[in-house]
C-alpha cells in the first residue's frame, strides 16, 4: 500500500466522516481515495473546495457538527491554511491536517520530498499557540499515526498535523491493517458547565451544534461562555496561556518515540524519511557506538527524552531542511548538536551520516 493511501485508510478506520480538500502534489492521492471511499459511508461527505483556505474552513465547520474532519495538502496549500488553522486553535476545534511535505519555498519542487514546513506547522499562524504534529517514517505509521491524530485532536480540542513527506507519502510497503483502531472522542460538555471552561487538564468539554447548548464560537478573545472580550488583558492572557499549556504540559505524557542503543556516544535524532537512513546505519551497525531517537510526535517537543542518553557525546540531526528541529534540540542539551540539513529532494545517504559521526569524533 502507498503511504498516502495508508493515511486515508487510517483516517477511515478512525471514523473520519468528512473530508474537504484541494488537489496538490504530492498529497492528491489522499483526496482521491477519500473521494472514492467516503460517499459510500452513510452520513459521510467528501467535498472538493475552491482552495485550501476554504478546505480548512469547511473541516472546522464540519467538526462543530461533531464530524471527524480532515484535509490533506502540501506546502503551498499549507501556507493558505494558516489563517484558519489559527481559528481552529482559538476556537478549540478538533481536526486533522495532513501535510505531505515537498520542496519549498513557493511552488518549489512539487514532486520531491522535504521537511521544510516543520517550523511553519509550529509557528505559521499569527499569535502565540501550540499544536500537535506527528511524523510518519513508514507506510504503517502513515496509517497508525493518522488514526492517532484524530484521537489527539479530540482529546486536546486542537488541530493535529500529520507531517509526512513525499518519500513516505509515495513509498509502497506491506502493512498490517488492524481489525479496529482505538477511538477516543472528546469529553462531553457537562450539564451546567460553560462551553469554554476547562474541565480536564485545560481542555473544555465539547458539545456539537444542534444539541441544544447554543454555543457562540468566535476567533476573538472570548470568555468561558464564548462571548467576545477583547480588551481585557487578563482575559486574553489566561485564554492564550491555557491554549498553550493544555498542549505543552502534556508533551511528555503524549510523547511517542523509539530509542535504539541508548548508551551509545553518538545519537541520531530523527523523524520522517531520514529515519530510514538512520536505521540503515545504526541497525546494520555500519558505524560503531551509534544509536537513535526516532520521534513520532515532534511537536510538542519532548525535550526530557534527550536526558536519557547519558553517554552521548554528540546529537546528530539529519533533516530534509536546513536545520529546524536541530535548533530545538540545541536549546535543551549541553553536548554538540550536529545538523545534517539536506535539501533538493533526495534522502540522506548512509555515507553522509557515517561521515557526520566521524566529524563528531567517532571511530571509523
Amino acid at each position: 500500500m502507498q503511504g498516502n493511501i495508508a493515511s486515508a485508510e487510517g483516517a477511515l478506520a478512525a471514523g473520519c466522516n468528512f473530508f474537504a480538500g484541494y488537489p496538490i502534489t504530492p498529497s492528491t492521492e489522499i483526496a482521491e481515495h477519500m473521494a472514492a471511499r467516503l460517499p459510500k459511508r452513510k452520513g459521510a461527505c467528501f467535498i472538493q473546495m475552491e482552495d485550501e483556505i476554504a478546505s480548512m474552513a469547511a473541516i472546522i465547520g464540519a467538526a462543530w457538527t461533531g464530524a471527524r474532519a480532515m484535509t490533506a495538502t502540501s506546502g503551498p496549500g499549507f501556507s493558505l491554511m494558516m489563517e484558519n488553522i489559527g481559528y481552529a486553535v482559538m476556537s478549540e476545534t478538533p481536526c486533522v491536517i495532513v501535510n505531505v511535505q515537498r520542496g519549498g519555498p513557493s511552488t518549489g519542487q512539487p514532486t520531491m520530498a522535504a521537511q521544510g514546513d516543520m517550523m511553519q506547522v509550529r509557528f505559521g499562524s499569527h499569535g502565540d499557540y501550540s499544536i500537535i504534529a506527528l511524523c510518519p517514517s513508514s507506510v504503517q505509521e502513515c496509517f497508525d499515526l493518522t488514526a492517532k491524530a484524530f484521537n489527539l485532536a479530540d482529546q486536546f480540542r486542537t488541530p493535529v498535523f500529520l507531517m509526512a513527506d513525499e518519500v513516505i507519502g509515495h513509498m509502497r510497503e506491506r502493512i498490517d491493517l488492524p481489525d479496529e483502531v482505538m477511538v477516543i472522542r472528546p469529553r462531553p460538555l457537562p450539564e451546567g458547565v460553560l462551553p469554554f471552561t476547562p474541565v480536564d487538564n485545560g481542555v473544555p468539554g465539547f458539545a456539537s451544534f444542534g444539541t441544544g447548548r447554543r454555543i457562540p464560537v468566535t476567533g476573538l478573545t472570548h470568555n468561558e461562555q464564548g462571548y467576545p472580550d477583547t480588551t481585557n488583558p487578563a482575559r486574553h492572557e489566561s485564554l492564550v496561556r491555557r491554549l498553550v499549556s493544555k498542549i505543552e504540559d502534556a508533551r511528555h505524557e503524549i510523547a511517542d518515540f523509539q530509542v535504539v542503543n541508548e548508551d551509545a556516544a553518538f545519537i541520531f535524532v530523527c523523524y520522517g524519511a531520514p529515519v530510514r537512513t538512520v536505521q540503515e546505519v545504526v541497525d546494520r551497525r555500519r558505524v560503531p557506538d551509534t544509536g537513535y531517537l526516532k520521534l513520532r510526535i515532534v511537536w510538542p517537543f519532548p525535550e526530557k527524552l534527550l536526558q536519557r542518553f547519558t553517554n552521548v557525546r554528540a546529537f546528530i540531526v539529519p533533516e530534509m531542511n536546513l536545520g529546524m528541529i536541530s535548533r530545538e534540540i540545541e536549546r535543551h542539551v549541553q553536548v554538540p548538536v550536529i545538523p545534517i540539513g539536506k535539501i533538493g529532494g533526495e534522502l540522506h545517504t548512509p555515507e553522509e551520516l557515517i561521515e557526520a559521526v566521524h566529524f563528531a569524533g567517532g571511530d571509523a
Binding site: 466522516n17 468528512f18 474537504a20 461527505c45 467535498i47 473546495m49 475552491e50 482552495d51 483556505i53 476554504a54 478546505s55 474552513a57 469547511a58 473541516i59 472546522i60 465547520g61 464540519a62 467538526a63 462543530w64 457538527t65 461533531g66 464530524a67 474532519a69 489563517e83 484558519n84 481559528y87 476556537s91 451544534f209 444542534g210 444539541t211 441544544g212 447548548r213 447554543r214 454555543i215 457562540p216 464560537v217 468566535t218 476567533g219 476573538l220 462571548y227 467576545p228
Partner: protein, 263 residues
C-alpha cells in the same frame, strides 16, 4: 424585536447609533421565526466586520469566523449535518472582496444556505475604507478623492454564479425584506438577500448622509421596483443616476447540495 432569539445578556450591542444592521437582524429573526426554525436546529455564521457581529447576539449555536470565509465554514456545517438550518450574515467587504471566491463557489454549488449581506458600501469596523461596492465618486478614507473603481453588483454576481434565490431590498423596506428572507429560507439551495443599508458613522458622514434618516430617504427614493421598471422602461433605457433595482431577481430550482434527506 424577536427578543426570544436574542442573547439579552450580550446587550447593548456594538453597533453605532443609527446603524441599519439592527433593523436587518430583526427582519431576519422575524423570517426565521415565521419559517418555523427553532433555536436548537439553527446555526448562524458570519465572517468579519460589523455585519458579522450579528450572530453573537443571537441565542443559537453560531460561528463567528475569519474575514470572508463564512461561506466556506457554512459549507462544512451544512454538508456535514444537512438537518441544521444555516443562515449567514455578511457584509460587502466580507463577501465581495476577501470572500469573493467563496461567494461564487457557494452560489455555483447551490449549497442550501441563506445569506444576508448588509451592504453599507464601506468598511465600517475599520473606520470607513472603500469597498468593492462603494459607488464611483463616493468618498472613504481610502478613496479621499472619490472612488474610481467600478463597483460589484452582488445580485448580478449571485444570479450569474447559479444561486437559486436572489433578492435585493434595503433597511427602509422592512416588510419586503422580511418576506424576501422568508422566501430565501424556504427555497432549497443558495439564497442571497442583499440589503442596502445606512452607515451614518463611516459612509454617511463623508458622503452627505450625515443623519441616518438622510440615507433612509435616499434608499426609499432611489430604490426602483424591478417588476415596475421592467414593465415601464423603454427599450434601452438606463436607470436614473444612483438608482438601483429592488425585488426578487431569481427564484429557480437548479440542482442543490446540502439539503436534508427526508427519509
Amino acid at each position: 424585536m424577536r427578543e426570544d432569539w436574542l442573547r439579552n445578556d450580550r446587550l447593548p450591542h456594538i453597533y453605532c447609533a443609527g446603524c441599519g444592521n439592527g433593523t436587518i437582524m430583526n427582519c431576519v429573526l422575524e423570517a426565521v421565526d415565521k419559517a418555523g426554525y427553532e433555536r436548537d436546529n439553527t446555526v448562524f455564521l458570519s465572517g468579519i466586520g460589523c455585519s458579522s457581529r450579528a450572530p453573537g447576539y443571537i441565542e443559537t449555536d453560531s460561528l463567528h469566523t475569519t474575514h470572508g470565509r463564512a461561506l466556506a465554514f457554512a459549507t462544512g456545517v451544512k454538508m456535514a449535518k444537512p438537518s441544521l438550518n444555516v443562515v449567514v450574515f455578511t457584509g460587502d467587504g466580507d463577501i465581495a472582496a476577501i470572500g469573493g471566491n467563496h461567494f461564487i463557489h457557494a452560489c455555483r454549488r447551490n449549497i442550501d444556505l441563506t445569506v444576508v449581506c448588509m451592504n453599507n458600501h464601506i468598511y465600517g469596523m475599520t473606520g470607513g475604507q472603500g469597498s468593492p461596492t462603494t459607488p464611483i465618486g463616493k468618498t472613504s478614507t481610502t478613496t479621499p478623492y472619490g472612488a474610481v473603481e467600478v463597483p460589484f453588483d452582488l445580485v448580478d454576481l449571485a444570479v450569474a454564479a447559479g444561486a437559486n434565490y436572489v433578492a435585493r431590498w434595503t433597511s427602509y423596506h422592512v416588510t419586503q425584506l422580511t418576506e424576501a428572507v422568508l422566501n430565501g429560507l424556504n427555497t432549497p439551495g443558495f439564497s442571497l438577500i442583499e440589503v442596502r443599508c445606512q452607515c451614518p458613522t463611516s459612509y454617511g458622514r463623508r458622503n452627505k448622509f450625515r443623519e441616518p434618516k438622510d440615507y433612509m430617504d435616499f434608499l426609499r427614493s432611489h430604490a426602483v421596483l424591478k417588476e415596475k421598471w421592467e414593465r415601464t422602461a423603454k427599450p434601452g433605457e438606463e436607470l436614473p443616476a444612483e438608482s438601483f433595482l429592488v425585488g426578487e431577481f431569481v427564484r429557480r430550482a437548479r440542482p442543490v447540495m446540502g439539503v436534508a434527506d427526508e427519509t
